[in-house]
């Protein structure tokens, strides 16, 4: 024994280790679980009612159950500032707020009437909020969208960030994160794009759907909310009129200086993304094609996209040249022709079809550029392209039109030359 004690004293680190073990083990055993002190916030909503902020926290509460279902609830707090509102929400929750797992931040559309950056200042200062947090806007209150998202999780296993993540991967082809917003906000043109989700009543939704089906114009509306089963629909609390659904129409809000300047639909977003090689799978409809004395319309899907972009100054004016090489695939034929043929002659894009696709693409692009020009919001990074490749001439031109402050108006002066080459995929 004596020998062992002697050995022990010869190794002071062992003593330190034993002391630490003796000291921390009871703490570890008797301290309550982290979930009892901290609420895991998975989504955050900010509303402004009059001059007061309301913060809603979609909180995940870990509880033991056998169904593997996540139990989430929305907890709110009000205050004169975001920090105060979160503090009050913490009191209501009985736990401190842990934002490390917050994947979504939703703001009410009204907040975008003023500089939204001032409303989310707290979030950018709280470093525990991840930079890749999805940042979206909604037409109703952020609280409502978080309430509705609970149904998404419980019924479809679909999370809010996955709904908007689809847009980020397939529609905007840009991150709609808090970081992406700030990147645009702090850029010289001070413009950015954020996702837009709407909430609609079940009843209104059904009426609209029937109108849409009547008019045979399906559009791109995509309902993400789940349908309640018959049991729940019999419940008075879940009456059809009261049910709220999150509707993802693929829209986005164009912001300038943190304020909303335009609400863009899918068509306009496709126009903005037309030169983005990652933005594919869009459908182009070609109407009025004559085939065997019949008029039919064809639906083509963009399968591949290559873009070649160059910028230069000609006679002191900026010229933006873009060549777009599209690989398209025929996916649908609408018309009297009903016989199904695979590898028909339509797989070869005729000159007439190519011309019509080109015209359609150019129209889409021009419309989007016009919107950006009207809003002085260069989300395409046109100014950046010229700064990067023609810096001297760009700076000279900026000085001519009003200096550094005029960088937002630069897009107004740019002459766009778009050349579209359509190839069968």
């Amino acid at each position: 024994m004596k020998r062992k004690i002697k050995i022990l004293f010869k190794m002071p680190m062992l003593i330190v280790f034993i002391i630490i073990l003796l000291f921390f083990t009871p703490f570890a055993i008797y301290s309550p679980g982290e979930s009892r002190n901290r609420g895991v916030v998975t989504a955050l909503g900010i509303d402004k009612i009059d001059e007061e902020y309301e913060i809603s926290l979609l909180t995940f509460i870990p509880t033991a159950n056998q169904s593997y279902q996540e139990k989430s609830s929305v907890i709110s707090g009000k205050g004169g500032s975001v920090a105060e509102a979160i503090y009050n929400a913490q009191i209501a929750m009985g736990r401190s707020v842990g934002l490390s797992h917050a994947k979504t931040t939703v703001v009410n559309e009204k907040l975008l009437e003023e500089d939204v950056a001032s409303s989310i200042d707290y979030l950018s200062r709280v470093a525990s909020l991840p930079e890749n947090t999805v940042f979206v806007c909604t037409n109703k209150t952020a609280k409502e969208i978080l309430e509705s998202s609970k149904d998404l999780i419980s019924n479809l296993g679909l999370k809010l960030e996955q709904v908007i993540g689809y847009n980020a991967n397939n529609l905007y082809v840009t991150d709609t994160s808090l970081e992406a917003f700030y990147k645009g906000y702090f850029s010289p043109t001070k413009s950015s794009l954020i996702g837009y989700l709407t909430i609609e009543d079940e009843k209104t939704r059904k009426e609209e759907n029937s109108e849409i089906s009547n008019s045979q114009d399906s559009g791109s509306t995509q309902t993400q909310s789940s349908q309640k089963n018959s049991d729940s629909s019999s419940n008075s609390n879940n009456s059809e009129a009261g049910l709220k659904q999150i509707v993802n129409q693929g829209q986005a809000v164009l912001l300038k200086n943190g304020k909303k300047v335009a609400l863009l639909d899918v068509e306009q977003l496709n126009g903005i993304n037309i030169l983005n090689p990652k933005s594919i799978n869009q459908i182009i409809t070609v109407d009025g094609i004559e085939k065997d004395e019949q008029t039919i319309s064809l639906q083509y899907k963009i399968k591949t996209k290559k873009t070649l972009i160059s910028s230069k100054f000609e006679n002191g004016y900026p010229i933006y040249n873009a060549q777009l090489i599209l690989g398209v695939e025929l996916v649908e034929i609408n018309g009297v022709e009903n016989s199904l043929k695979v590898n028909t002659e339509f797989s070869n894009v005729t000159d007439e079809i190519a011309e019509k696709i080109e015209q359609k693409i150019k129209e889409q692009f021009t419309n989007s550029i016009n919107i950006l020009r009207d809003c002085d919001a260069d989300v395409l990074g046109i100014a950046r392209q010229f700064f990067f490749h023609n810096r001297k001439e760009f700076v000279r031109f900026l000085n001519k039109i009003g200096g550094q402050e005029a960088v937002s108006q630069f897009i107004d002066y740019v002459v766009f030359k778009l050349n579209v080459v359509v190839e069968p995929d």
Partner: protein, 364 residues
């Protein structure tokens, strides 16, 4: 005396090169000089790299002599003690800065609340043990974990390549900003000074010096890559992100679904910080023992702990104070240690060479 191999010396250098550069510095630099910070970084690395041939020459001329003995012989006891005191402060503040930045990082990412008590209990005994065990023991530990640390670092850089990056804007800051940034961030450099301090404990065999250059160059390339990727990814918002290595992992919505991917960065940073603190604490204790030869290493460790705790609470405890000090007044100390000391050693070498040449001439 047991010596460390050139490889162990190399891994120590790599850890020193990572010190104070992989978390906060990229964003601090960006505020001053935007993406041109990469040029500031390269300039400071170039200045540091110039110290390596001086060290090698010194080692060739004095293979088994301590730096303290060389300085005492040439400059006298008092001047040497003053230099050693400056070095003691230099390494102590470097250690405090490393701890301070990492502590704030972990507080933000994991604990949310203050956990200084836990952090001190977790770090100080290990650091003390490493210091008492000696350079050979902890350099072997670093050597053992070196692969893991580098793999973690490289993974952080590699994952960032899966998200869109674009070339940052260069040549946008003025010459004044450039030189001011050089001055403000010089304290985070001077990574080769540790080599001078432990020169008597390094065993360099013939033809092995190029290994030292290789390790140094390898670490520099990793740090420069980190800066470049960080600026390429964040660009205009780089100033908002205080934890460069970890922030590279949490950028994209695409990675949102993969839980907390930054755990890779956390583990890497934890190991790097621990090793850096061990190195700086050892350097502090070595300086202390040379200044006060009557007190042994155990006293120096106790003094280090007391000073560390007192300064952390009383003066440096506020993160902002520590960072501001590192940017504004500690650079004076850094310039003296990073550049003036090696120049003094270079002069010593030149004088010695002239004397030898004179002797040779007289002999002929």
């Amino acid at each position: 005396m047991k010596k460390i191999s050139i490889r162990q010396c190399g891994v120590i250098i790599v850890m020193c090169i990572f010190a104070n550069k992989i978390l906060l510095m990229p964003s601090l630099m960006y505020q001053q000089t935007s993406a041109d910070s990469i040029f500031v970084l390269l300039t400071l690395f170039l200045l540091d790299f110039a110290m390596l041939p001086i060290f090698i020459k010194l080692k060739e001329n004095y293979p088994n002599k301590k730096l303290y003995d060389i300085l005492r012989d040439k400059l006298g006891k008092v001047v040497t003690k003053i230099i050693y005191f400056a070095m003691l402060c230099f390494f102590f503040f470097k250690c405090l800065l490393v701890f301070s930045v990492t502590y704030v990082y972990f507080k933000q990412q994991i604990y949310q609340d203050e956990f200084i008590f836990l952090a001190l209990i977790a770090f100080l005994p290990v650091i003390n043990h490493a210091t008492i065990s000696g350079i050979r023991a902890f350099s072997r530990t670093i050597e053992l974990f070196f692969g893991v640390v580098i793999a973690g670092f490289v993974v952080c850089l590699a994952i960032s390549l899966f998200t869109p990056i674009s070339t940052p804007y260069f040549f946008v800051s003025s010459a004044k900003d450039f030189f001011l940034s050089l001055y403000n961030h010089v304290f985070a450099f001077g990574d080769f000074i540790i080599l001078f301090l432990i020169m008597d404990r390094i065993e360099i065999k013939k033809g092995q010096t190029k290994k030292l250059f290789f390790f140094a160059l390898f670490a520099i390339i990793l740090v420069v890559s980190l800066f470049y990727l960080f600026y390429a990814k964040y660009q205009i918002t780089a100033f908002m992100h205080n934890n460069a290595l970890a922030d590279l992992l949490v950028f994209s919505v695409q990675f949102n679904a993969i839980g907390r991917l930054d755990i890779i960065a956390m583990l890497t940073i934890m190991f790097i910080t621990l090793f850096q603190m061990e190195i700086f604490s050892y350097a502090f204790c070595d300086c202390f023992v040379n200044i006060f030869p009557l007190l042994n290493k155990n006293y120096s460790v106790v003094i280090f702990d007391i000073l560390f705790c007192i300064l952390y609470y009383v003066f440096i405890g506020r993160y902002e104070t520590m960072v501001t000090s590192a940017l504004y007044w500690l650079p004076y100390l850094a310039i003296a240690i990073n550049y003036i000391l090696p120049i003094i050693l270079l002069v010593i070498l030149i004088i010695r060479r002239q004397k030898i040449e004179k002797k040779d001439k007289n002999f002929i």
